[in-house]
Amino acid sequence: MNFTKGVIALGLACMTSMASAADTLTIYSYRQAFLIDPILTDFTKETGIEVNVVFSKNGIAERIAREGRLSPVDLVLTSDFSRLMELADKDLVTPVQSEVLEVNIPQSMRSPSGEWFALTQRVRNIYSSKERLGPLDITYEDLADPKYKGKICTRSGKHPYNIALVASMIAHHGEAETKTWLNGFKANLARKPQGNDRAQVQAVKEGLCDIAIGNSYYLGKMLQDPNQVAWAEAVNINFPNQSNRGAHINISGMALAKHAPHKDNAIKLMEYLSGDAAQQSYAQINMEYPVKVDVAPSELVASWGEFKADALPIFKLAEYHQAAVKLLDEVKFDL
């Protein structure tokens, strides 16, 4: 009967499955594909391994957990530390023992058991308006100072970059004090948290606010973009807390998936990403601070000067992640 056949044919057309060839590799990435594409192209040229990248802003850990042992993912790339810890906490990663990784990545920048590895470092900077404030010797604590009332712009408090910053505040000051600080910070905002880090710098340029919170590499990226260079030129980059504990550092990193179908290929890529060529690309193209000690940051990034980094071990931030999210909800930071 034609009708029944048609129904079956339609059903079959829906069932397209994915083949998994031997010389491939699947990456789930929290970082946008175009940021890592040049590096991956070089990797494919060198090794012949094809790399599929799936970019998603959130939900990767949830996805891998749900896919379980059937998951096609080999390697996860994250743009911040909390995502790495989330993967490790949910038992979605597998430890890697590799001499190359251990030589390339300093001990403080990887988990002792090899569950995750940092690839780049970035500072959570405080940008100030050149015209109205000039360079500042400022601390994160100052963000709650009433003298900045109505002058500060930031993205959503719930963004991982800001959550990590709040977690570091809890680590240094405890929950109660951090809550008071968050309330003061919120009272100083020029507008409801919105947009990305670049949009905050744009808002400074437009005169909507005088201070913006943003990661270091965005300034470099904006200076390269003809549409955004004017925004970047309107601000000074300040490394916070230089007079005491140092600036808050976050990392981007990678972890091998627990059920990775192509483990060997994935480890090859991990080693490649920690090597000189890839680290230099990260420094030159993405304006980040490389983790490999003997690779220098780009000239532009170096021109922002040396700075003192917060000595708090990165994995400490993970302990306060949940507490930070709850505090942000409690003070209704984004509402």
């Binding site: 829906c14 397209t16 599929n52 059937l70 949009a199 909507l208 209704k332």
Partner: protein, 543 residues
Amino acid sequence: MILGFARRWSLISYLIAVILTLPLLAIIVQAAVPGEAIFAHLLDTVLPTYIFNTLALMLCVCIGAVVLALPAAWCIARCDFPGRQLFQWALLLPLAMPAYVVAYVYTDLLDYAGPIQRGIRAVFGWQSPQDYYFPDVRTLMGAAVMLALVLFPYIYLLARTAFMEQSSSLQHAARVMGCSPWQSFWRLSLPMARPALAVGASLVAMETAADFATVSYFSVPTLTTAVYDTWLGYGSLSAAAKLSAIMLLVIFCMIGSERFARRKQKLFQKQAELNERDRYPLSAPKAWLATFYCAGLLLLAFLLPFGVLVSYAWQYFEVSWNHEFLQYSINSLYIALLVALLTAVIAIVLMFVRRCSPRRSDLLPSRLASTGYALPGTVLAIGILVPLTYMDFTINDIYAYFDRQGPGLVLSGSIFALIFAFSIRFVAIAIGSVESSYKRISPTLDMASITMGLRPNALLRKVHLPLLRKGIFAGVLLVFIECMKELPAALLLRPVGFENLATYVFQFVSDEQLEHGALAAIVIVLVGFIPLIYLNRSLEHNT
């Protein structure tokens, strides 16, 4: 013969209905998983705000849409003025615009850095935001206005039809009894159109509740965004399912009241069988006012945002016309076409069974299958992933039992999930369309055919399908456009490395560079035109 046949086919229709209601059951089961600390925490902190925002948004959008639509619907249905013919269909065009695109364009125009505020600052010499007041677009009210601008055509369409169907002898009677035109509008026409307005408003409210992109772009937290954040941010499926259950409760209450309103409507329509369509010719100043109003509405809701899109696409054509754009267009068209055909087949099967079956209970499958329309995309995604993942594991376990390499995530990790979701969400449209066509086929035709020895399958093929052709086609078109626009379900269910136009455009919107995605947005809008024009044509023929 037809009885035995009906029993076999009604089994199939029940099976289809059960498969299509699977997500709903999955959500209820998930929500019943005993309490988690996260849900209690949400309840203590932000949930009241989310619920308030959702309700306030729905109310504001409904009021806004009624206020925008009512004058236009009335003038076009009952009066004559320059441009009436044009506005009659042109005012449907905003339906083709995705709300988040309109929101983006207006944010660009009205933001502090936008041309309007810059202009104001230049004229008055103001320096900073402290110097003057300007309403912020990225607020709850802003989102309400944006949604009202794209959703008002639902109310306009229904209200216009209702006004057209009202007998003018009633108006004449009212005027003879000494009512002024205004009085006859407020006391007669409006109350009679109330059920149509209620249906339209509940459609608008449902679309508002399902909206994800606009509120997420404006950072107005609602239940839809809360479901998304709780699931992906906190990683708690059960808390997300609880939120979904709350949302479904709100929506089903609304549908209940809509059904109630529609029951009354039947009564009204029977009164209005007489229909001489004589329109008031409006005198000069009033006529120009009507034209001005409709033109202004069309400009704000459609021409302006579409014009901005076209200018973006023009400037960035080199960047946007690339391999990805073509691939994603093909993906979108492919999925939309597949789902449109699939839902048409399901609708035909369900409605054919209902037609042939002597039992009243065979109404149930089509009713059940239609509930999917009420599920917002984010909620639906949760409801789909849970059972599909479970089935995937079962399939792979069976393979493993026979010592074979399993096929992996064939259901939850492929476009199957997407097609399943879209079919559930939009099959109601196909069913409604086929249903209304069936109503126009006289049952005596069936009887005659069977008396002449036609078997049921032949009855469907030789008699029903040719007569249903138009209804099926309309259903396919409407499902097609909805599939092109649907965002949240696609965002959550798309397989590894798969994008379609909607997810592609939304990515640019959330990265604040729609300029690069304008071309893709234009394709979505243009594809949306076709069914709208068709819809309007068929409505005109009916009235």
